[in-house]
């Protein structure tokens, strides 16, 4: 297979252009609404004489996660809708390009758009607040470590919702949330049952441990030992390196298998 059949920068550019033009109205309306809400919150904050240093950081966090995950969930809507699926699947671009363009839009694209948007809005809003109320909230600083760490966490969370967007044909966001909840619940139940069965002789009644000295006490856990530190390091590495690439890869293979009969 020739490389140009997997990825061509020019075709990718055409895909971006198509996505932007097809969604320009929705994006502008959403951006306008978000700008208005942010300004309203910043104006109330400045007016009530309680200028906040964290205002824009918390707005950025909410926008990035709530907005980003909802946008990600809808990123393959065109592929699942009966009216549009055929158009999308027959568009002369490779499956990888279709996957990659939507991945870039919902990861780096959305994160940077939100970062720049919140920064610009914070400057404009606080300029207006200074003129009107003679005081202002702290301007949003996009160059802090916290902001960029948050963006990295967003990429991990995004990958789960990206898979949900590819996998589910309808109600992608809700269904992904439900799956996460059900998985968490299942793990909790399985763990509880496992402990109950393996350590059955320590229990009095259904889930009550008789000997209280056996209940885990955090202050007695040797957090400073090298084995514990190594465990935490390994878990962190796994967290940063495994889920996102894994879910994105599964998403790509799923896109390759989509047929028009799956559309609803």
């Amino acid at each position: 297979m020739k490389t140009t059949n997997i990825i061509s920068p020019l075709r990718l550019l055409h895909l971006f252009k198509r996505d932007i033009l097809n969604n320009v109205n929705t994006t502008l309306i959403a951006f306008g609404a978000v700008t208005a809400v942010i300004y309203l919150i910043s104006a109330i904050s400045a007016y009530t004489n309680a200028p906040s240093g964290e205002l824009y950081f918390s707005l950025f966090t909410n926008l990035l996660f709530a907005g980003g995950l909802i946008v990600t969930s809808m990123v393959f809507k065109e592929m699942h809708k009966k009216e549009t699926a055929q158009n999308y699947l027959l568009l002369p671009a490779s499956n990888f390009e279709k996957f990659f363009s939507r991945l870039l839009i919902s990861t780096i694209g959305f994160a940077l758009f939100t970062l720049i948007g919140v920064t610009v809005i914070s400057y404009l809003s606080e300029g207006v607040n200074t003129l009107i109320f003679k005081r202002h909230n702290e301007i949003f600083n996009p160059f802090t470590k916290m902001v960029w760490t948050l963006m990295a966490h967003y990429l991990v969370a995004q990958s789960i919702f990206f898979l949900g967007a590819v996998y589910f044909r309808k109600f992608h966001f809700i269904k992904t949330i439900n799956v996460i909840f059900l998985l968490q619940l299942s793990i909790t139940i399985i763990t509880a049952l496992f402990v109950r069965i393996v350590f059955f002789d320590l229990f009095e009644g259904l889930f009550k441990i008789g000997d209280t000295s056996l209940i885990m006490q955090w202050d007695k856990i040797p957090l400073n030992t090298s084995s514990f530190t190594n465990l935490i390091k390994t878990l962190k590495i796994l967290y940063w390196l495994v889920p996102a690439p894994l879910f994105w890869t599964i998403s790509y293979f799923r896109i390759k298998e989509v047929e028009v009969k799956n559309a609803i």
């Binding site: 059949n5 075709r11 055409h14 033009l21 097809n22 158009n87 009969k261």
Partner: protein, 284 residues
């Protein structure tokens, strides 16, 4: 150009095609006919890579459609019966979508829009059903794809547009292009489609050029009902009977597509026998 071998296809548990084989060559405008639910649209979707066969082999322009390779996709244009057009003006649609088709002919596109009298400054989603269809036909022809698939293309077109459609498709049928038209409106396709493919119960039961049909079959008007074993198909009319039979006298009478379709559907084995050299109207 299109080569299907021993293909099986099913929707969940409903089997549609069983051991289907078909070879389609460029330079033809194939007419794909069949009853409702015979699988005409599904066959077009399989050829274009929108549906995947369960078993068997399918090659289109030396590509496997399932892979949806961009080179393959830019050489195939599928006009479905139901479609979506975005809220873009015709000119903007062209700017966005034409770059995906490397052989796009801008001049031809503008000529066709003009011929169909389609407004350039109106948003496509505000077009009527017929206008949308004419727009997509224009775009599809301008793409210069070697394979052009049309599903019920004349549905929703007014009478003058149907005439225009026939003329435009006939002029688009070049020797390296393969056009497949799936339709119920066989009368709209007279003098356009050749060869004719008829699918029924998951199989291709007829695949012949019109010339062969004229050579092998003839249609006669009879005032009295003939013996059933002398005809392939008999239709009662106001003033008598229309009978389709083997053309043993070498008549050169064109049989209309509707009658041909009814003949093949009602007596496939009899028709097959005639085309294989027999003259008896078997299995009537």
């Amino acid at each position: 150009m299109v080569n299907i071998k021993n293909m099986d296809f099913a929707y969940k548990k409903t089997k549609l095609f069983s051991n289907l084989s078909l070879e389609l060559k460029p330079g033809n405008i194939y007419g794909l006919l069949g009853k409702n639910g015979a699988g005409k649209t599904s066959l077009l979707k399989i050829i274009s890579g929108l549906l995947f066969p369960n078993t068997g082999k399918i090659e289109v322009n030396n590509f496997i459609p399932k892979q949806r390779n961009p080179e393959f996709l830019q050489d195939i244009f599928f006009l479905p019966e139901e479609y979506y057009l975005p809220g873009l003006k015709a000119i903007d649609f062209k700017k966005v979508y034409a770059p995906f088709y490397t052989n796009f002919d801008n001049v031809r596109f503008m000529e066709l829009l003009e011929e169909f009298k389609l407004p350039m400054d109106q948003k496509l989603n505000s077009f009527s059903y017929g206008q949308k269809k004419k727009f997509l036909i224009s775009f599809g022809i301008a793409c210069n794809s070697r394979i052009f698939l049309l599903d019920e293309p004349t549905n929703g077109l007014d009478i003058p547009s149907k005439t225009q459609f026939r003329r435009i498709i006939a002029s688009a049928g070049t020797e390296n292009r393969l056009i497949i038209i799936s339709t119920h409106q066989v009368r709209d396709m007279e003098n356009l489609i050749d060869p004719i493919i008829i699918v029924d119960e998951g199989k291709v039961i007829f695949n012949e050029y019109v010339e062969q049909v004229t050579n092998k079959l003839t249609v006669k008007k009879l005032t009295e009902e003939p013996a059933k074993d002398t005809v392939l198909y008999l239709e009662k009319e106001i003033d008598g009977y229309k009978a389709v039979m083997a053309n043993t006298d070498q008549d050169q009478i064109d049989i209309d597509f509707e009658t041909l379709f009814n003949t093949v559907i009602s007596n496939p084995s009899g028709v097959k026998s005639v085309f294989n050299g027999g003259t008896n109207n078997e299995n009537n």
